[in-house]
């Protein structure tokens, strides 16, 4: 499928700030099933800093903006050809050993309730089935509901209240998978949502679980499926913080507010560009 993305993030400061520094994970992963047609990231008044591909295969790009500024805009526009790989990440070059994804972090700490979601699972017999089951159980236990959690809600807290968004569900899948010894990580990306889909879902997140013999496999508890050709994968990490599309900090006293809009559309016509 040919997908077009327009992702705009505006930062407003109530007083001018002296400068802004950001670290981006905004380039689509280089893997089978994702072929870039065009892709551009821009930062208003920004100077591009150092960039590198990290051990997890993500392109990380630094940016700085020299102040004083009241507002900055980060814009991602691009087109990408996607193919349904049934959730399996293939052809993705990375060096980080899967074991490094067994370490839990604060938002992915498994408490007794999360651990209980793994009851009866047999990852040693069939890891793939166990991972599917975890994702399904999390979808049931944490009902997708907007505005009931914050960026800092932990998986345990979301489970306790029974509601959350894709970030909370992904954290929960990760927590349960790691609890039974399956390496798991957080993935950020974009999703083509149907006309009836929630608009805030277009900037999306899901989980990947490492299945021996198969590799990393994506699970999206928010949509009860594995990522297909509606998904664009950008970057990964131990949790939402480490996989964030944009991490930034402003120098100065100004209070920051933020406005995000993401549009993902399927193009009707196939691209003419051959790359």
């Amino acid at each position: 499928m040919l997908l077009s993305v327009d992702h705009v993030t505006r930062y407003y400061y109530d007083q001018p700030v002296r400068g802004v520094v950001q670290s981006h994970r905004l380039m689509p992963s280089q893997c089978a099933g994702q072929k870039l047609v065009s892709w551009k990231v821009s930062v208003s008044d920004g100077q591009m800093g150092g960039g590198f591909r990290d051990g997890a295969g993500d392109w990380v790009q630094g940016w700085t903006v020299l102040g004083p500024v009241n507002e900055i805009t980060v814009r991602v526009t691009g087109q990408i050809e996607t193919v349904d790989m049934a959730g399996v990440l293939r052809g993705h070059k990375e060096l980080t050993p899967p074991e490094a994804y067994l370490r839990s972090t604060h938002p992915t700490e498994a408490d007794a309730a999360l651990a209980a979601l793994a009851d009866g699972l047999a990852p040693l017999q069939d890891a793939l089935a166990a991972a599917h089951e975890i994702s399904a159980r999390v979808s049931d236990a944490i009902v997708y509901t907007s505005d009931t959690t914050t960026a800092h809600t932990t998986a345990a807290e979301a489970l306790a209240q029974g509601t959350g968004v894709c970030q909370d569900q992904a954290h929960a899948v990760i927590a349960v998978a790691r609890h039974i010894g399956l390496p798991a990580r957080y993935v950020s990306g974009y999703l083509l949502v149907g006309v009836d889909g929630a608009a805030d879902e277009a900037a999306h997140a899901w989980a990947e679980v490492f299945i021996a013999g198969l590799g990393w496999v994506g699970f999206d508890p928010a949509n009860r499926c594995c990522p297909d050709d509606r998904y664009i994968r950008l970057g990964s990490g131990l949790d939402s913080l480490h996989a964030a599309m944009i991490r930034g900090i402003a120098r100065g006293q100004g209070e920051e507010s933020l406005d995000v809009s993401v549009t993902v559309q399927a193009s009707q016509t196939q691209s003419q560009t051959q790359q």
Binding site: G49, G62, L102, R103
Partner: protein, 470 residues
């Protein structure tokens, strides 16, 4: 009764390295000694060097006791130590490059992957990045104890930012000021080149994008840090700027320092700040001490950070057990310096052995430091032993145990005159384009009679450490 190796006496005979100190010692009247001791204390106070060493905490304004009786190595003894220390520093760095690369040592089954990759000190964010010259740990502090004429054991490795080197330099400075004759009578290798070698080492690992004489800075958490004295002392001696996070900023592909003449590009940062705090965009988002964006500049070759982020995975107490294996695996050599045999309470068999031999063992917390949370079996009361038994049983993974080592003694000035006291040694190995070691280090001494704990927080002091020229 355990017998301890006395570094000065073999029976009643004086060992060669200490020969000239015999006269000095016996001919010094008690009044002179007391006067000199008071003078030394006054000097230390004037310099402002105070208590905190190795991040042990404690009262930062207390002086660490200085013992005037030097600890002496012959040239031949040192030559062997030097080979062993450099060998270890090479292996530790090779290990770090490997585990952030292909992890050959894990693939070869020579060290369990979990021990490395699940370690809190393993930094996922630097996987795939090879620092300039392939060096992660530029200053390796190796803690050694001696148990016999030719027997040395490594207690632990410090690959991040080992402190205490200012004591090595100050102890020498003060000894030379107080006893100039001693330095005429003995041919003692100088240690005062350390700051210059450190500067050269740091400059030699300038980043790929640096095309000029590199600008080196020391990054300190600030004056409230217990080792701040050392940070400013080294900056001074190296002739480089001492900066805090707020003095540095990232612009484009580089890091700059604010100066009165405007921004100046920085190439090498010798940081005395833990990984977690150096960049809120990569590590702890709440850190106010670091430089936002630093890690992006670092990983794209715009600045070097010493020690390299992630170096801590090599000096973990559980990873320590495998250092001899690293030496064999990467260097194809046999270890020159021995490890202390270590039982990991996390392993069932080891734990069983430890619990039934607590009276004879030293038990340490895996992540502990500074001599806290430590059981010295032979010196402990029955009650203390039982407390530890309960703690180990409750959380075995948190403990390792080692045999009680018969730490060597050297003569030490005490209230009653001169008496043997137990010592250890921390030399500072510098790794850059070359591997260098100044002949000396920091000798810590347990001032309490019979004590084997040399930590300053537990009543330890320091001594000048001599290496005699051959």
């Amino acid at each position: 009764m355990t017998s301890y190796f006395n570094e000065m006496y073999q029976g009643s005979a004086v060992r060669a390295p200490y020969a000239r100190l015999q006269d000095w010692m016996t001919s010094m009247p008690a009044e002179l000694r007391q006067m000199k001791q008071a003078e030394a204390e006054a000097l230390f106070r004037r310099i402002g060097i105070t208590f905190a060493v190795y991040g042990e905490g404690g009262d930062p304004d207390r002086l660490i006791p200085f013992d005037m009786f030097p600890r002496v190595f012959s040239g031949a003894e040192w030559a062997k130590l030097e080979r062993g220390i450099k060998q270890r520093a090479r292996a530790l760095n090779a290990f770090l490059v490997d585990v952030y690369g292909r992890g050959e040592i894990v693939r070869a089954g020579r060290i369990p992957g979990r021990l490395v990759y699940l370690n809190e000190a393993y930094e996922k964010s630097v996987v795939g990045f090879v620092p300039p010259k392939g060096v992660y740990s530029h200053i390796v502090g190796i803690d050694l104890v001696r148990t016999g004429p030719d027997e040395f054991f490594v207690l632990e490795d410090n690959c991040r930012t080992p402190s205490g080197v200012s004591y090595m330099l100050e102890n020498r400075e003060i000894m030379m000021r107080m006893f100039p004759d001693l330095f005429r009578e003995n041919r003692i290798e100088p240690v005062d080149s350390y700051p210059e070698i450190l500067r050269r080492t740091l400059a030699s690992v300038a980043p790929a994008k640096c095309d000029r004489d590199p600008t080196v800075v020391i990054l300190t958490p600030g004056h409230f840090n217990s080792a701040y004295y050392e940070h400013s002392f080294l900056a001074d001696l190296m002739g480089v700027e001492l900066v805090e996070g707020q003095d540095l900023f990232v612009e484009g592909e580089f890091v700059f320092m604010r100066t009165t003449e405007g921004p100046r590009r920085v190439d090498v940062i010798y940081r005395r700040l833990d990984d977690a705090y150096i960049d809120p965009l990569c590590f702890r988002p709440d850190s106010m001490l670091g430089i936002p964006g630093l890690m992006d500049v670092y990983r794209s070759g715009g600045v070097s950070i010493c020690s390299a982020p992630g170096a801590g995975v090599a000096d973990d107490k559980a990873v320590y057990t495998y250092v001899p294996e690293m030496i064999r695996f990467y260097l194809g050599e046999e270890p020159i310096l021995k490890n202390v045999p270590t039982w990991q309470c996390g392993k069932a068999d080891d734990c069983k052995y430890v619990l039934s031999n607590l009276k004879d063992l030293v038990v340490k917390e895996v992540h502990g430091s500074g001599g806290y949370g430590m059981l010295v079996g032979p010196k402990a009361s029955a009650e203390q032993v039982e407390q530890f038994r309960a703690r180990i049983t409750a959380n075995p993974h948190n403990y390792i145990a080692q045999p009680t080592l018969a730490l060597s003694t050297t003569p030490t000035f005490v209230a009653e005159g001169i008496a043997p006291r137990h010592v250890d040694l921390r030399p500072y190995c510098l790794v850059g384009e070359r591997i260098e070691l100044v002949p000396g280090g920091l000798t810590r001494v347990a001032l309490t009679e019979g004590s084997l704990v040399v930590n300053s927080s537990q009543g330890g002091g320091v001594k000048d450490t001599w290496v005699l020229a051959e």
